[in-house]
């Protein structure tokens, strides 16, 4: 499926795969924001939640995949669709930064710093936890999806 010699980000099929994952992840993020709505200037629980969950899941996914040995074309497609696409689209830095400016704009610097600090610290912890779990995920988990050997 992958054209030989061409870097993944210049392979239209792989770029399309990332787009599909990004669409799914972005819609999921939007749905979470409907469940946990917030007004500008309030603590943005939905962005907070998707970013922490996404950090944990991406840490887990990338570590689990890395433990499968050299990246085969199928493992690369799994990484690009679920990792770069879905989790990349699910989490967001633009809303994080925007929400912080809306908190600082209101003059609520303690809330802005608290939100920024909590996101960075807990996000780091979540990603680390994901990595630890990924290192302990047996290759048989999720069947063929995460198996390293056989290809295509």
């Amino acid at each position: 499926m992958t054209s030989p010699g061409r870097p993944p980000h210049q392979d239209l099929r792989l770029v399309t795969l990332v787009a599909a994952g990004g669409a799914v992840g972005s819609v999921a993020r939007y749905l979470v924001s409907l469940v946990l709505p917030h007004e500008p200037g309030e603590w943005p629980w939905s962005t907070f939640a998707v970013n922490l969950a996404g950090a944990f899941l991406l840490g887990w996914l990338l570590e689990a995949l890395a433990r499968r040995g050299p990246e085969t074309p199928r493992l690369r497609r799994v990484r690009l669709f679920f990792g770069t696409g879905m989790l990349g689209g699910f989490t967001t830095y633009s809303s994080l930064a925007l929400d912080i400016t809306q908190l600082t704009g209101d003059g609520t610097w303690p809330a802005a710093l608290g939100y920024a600090g909590a996101t960075l610290l807990l996000g780091t912890l979540a990603a680390l936890l994901g990595v630890l779990l990924g290192a302990r995920t047996p290759p048989s988990t999720f069947g063929r999806l995460l198996r390293g050997r056989d290809d295509r």
């Binding site: 870097p7 993944p8 980000h9 210049q10 792989l14 770029v15 399309t16 990332v18 787009a19 599909a20 994952g21 990004g22 669409a23 799914v24 992840g25 972005s26 819609v27 993020r29 939007y30 749905l31 924001s33 970013n51 996404g54 950090a55 899941l57 991406l58 840490g59 990338l62 690009l80 990792g83 770069t84 696409g85 989790l87 990349g88 689209g89 699910f90 989490t91 967001t92 830095y93 633009s94 809303s95 994080l96 930064a97 925007l98 912080i100 400016t101 600082t104 920024a116 996101t119 960075l120 996000g123 780091t124 979540a126 990603a127 680390l128 990595v131």
Partner: protein, 128 residues
């Protein structure tokens, strides 16, 4: 606007944003393979500038909610990523590069914050 249309706008924008992020971040990574993840760093700064511009434009114009869904929630949300950025911070930490990891996390946040402020201020100056 129906809920389905809203979801389609977010999905189309998010898919487009994610595809451009993949292409842009890996293109930058290929040109600057110096151990600091510039690809994601630059993408997040640009996406923050864009959401500042979009938010400012929406605040000072009659543009409808569908633009917010397509451009801010969709394109900017899909283009920028928190998960990849923080996993890159953690990767630097695990490599023993603790100061670089802290610098990476704090500079991403500070530059993205400043980019939103700059984008919004520019639109306020143009349209306000």
């Amino acid at each position: 606007m129906t809920g389905l249309l809203a979801a389609v706008l977010v999905g189309v924008g998010g898919g487009l944003g994610a595809a451009v992020r993949f292409w842009a971040a890996d293109t930058i990574k290929a040109r600057r393979p110096d151990g600091f993840p510039w690809g994601t760093w630059i993408v997040n700064a640009l996406g923050a500038l864009l959401i500042g511009l979009v938010t400012g434009w929406l605040a000072f114009s009659d543009a409808g909610e569908h633009w917010h869904l397509l451009l801010a929630i969709g394109v900017c949300g899909g283009f920028t990523t928190f998960s990849t950025a923080i996993v890159e911070t953690v990767t630097m930490m695990r490599g023993g590069r603790h100061a670089a990891a802290v610098g990476h996390a704090l500079s991403t946040l500070a530059v993205s914050w400043a980019a939103v402020v700059a984008g919004f201020a520019l639109m306020a100056a143009l349209l306000g």
